[in-house]
Symmetry: C2
Subunit: 182 residues, 2 copies
């Protein structure tokens, strides 16, 4: 079920949305939308294998992209039971934030584990403690996640053999910890 | 009622939180928190009068600040009946995003008005159409608002005699449209 607001904002549709049904016949995006009506991201993860497959229980709706935002991203993300939000990681320059809408995901932060629930939030300043969310319950968890797109960002992964660097084109480049590319 | 997660993240408390009860005896911030337990911002608005007084029906909890985020802000904002989110405005460099948690605020976007409700979201790319939320109902509206802190940002106000420029110290400088400072 797709509910669109009646008014539309004039502007070119995001390249990510071209060919989808989210614009009207004049190519206008809606000015507001039911978040659940934004189509899920087609590519479920940017990670190389074997990490890509671990993200199959995660579904992201790119709300910020939908409205053409570029300075930060906002996703509505659903984690099925057994899913994880990302590999355990930390960013060098990107701040991150999550707000729980439903379900009871677990925040793994360094060596600690914190039970989250609807209405709770957590923030992860750049250069902070490695973290991710995991869903150990038997029902979906739903949350908003926000992250900026600071130039020169890098991500490190304390558990997995992975290093990531944000290229000048906005794409992530992944390599092994010994420098070999994936 | 303040519910704190049991685990804490080691780090210096934000200057904005000094003297409040949100850190433990070692000065550690919680790693996650019930958003409603973050204290409201002490200064309700940065606007000069006569605009300052118009923001008295708005209450912001600075969730991003709470966790020490600097690249963007995330506020949990409550608009009482008759309140408005901000003066109708647009930013030159800052992207903005709102996600409605409760209530039915009205999005004023240019000359259009769009009824919002829980689960809906809207995004405002830098340089886009002037906008604000107003609460014309008889109950509170509650929403998350996100905005980045891009250097050199400016805000323009099509209805009010106000111009704002973000200074290098992160403070907003307000003037009349003819250049006189407030």
């Amino acid at each position: 079920m797709v509910k669109l607001a009646v008014a539309c904002q004039i502007g070119a549709p995001s390249p990510l949305l071209k060919g989808r049904v989210m614009t009207d016949s004049l190519g206008r995006r809606p000015a507001a939308i039911e978040a659940a009506a934004v189509p899920p991201r087609v590519k479920p993860s940017n990670y190389p294998e074997p990490f890509f497959s671990r993200m199959s229980l995660r579904e992201k709706r790119q709300l910020g992209e939908f409205f053409g935002l570029t300075n930060f991203g906002v996703n509505l993300t659903r984690l099925a039971p057994g899913g994880e939000s990302a590999l355990k990681h930390r960013h060098s320059r990107q701040d991150e934030f999550v707000f729980i809408l439903a379900g009871e995901p677990t925040l793994v932060l360094g060596d600690e584990e914190i039970a989250l629930s609807a209405g709770m939030c957590a923030g992860f300043p750049a250069g902070g403690v490695a973290h991710h969310l995991v869903n150990r319950t038997d029902r979906d968890a739903l949350y908003l996640e926000v992250g900026d797109r600071s130039a020169g960002d890098a991500a490190s992964y304390p558990v997995d053999d992975l290093v990531a660097a944000l290229g000048p084109d906005g794409r992530w480049l992944f390599s092994h910890k010994d420098g070999r590319p994936y």
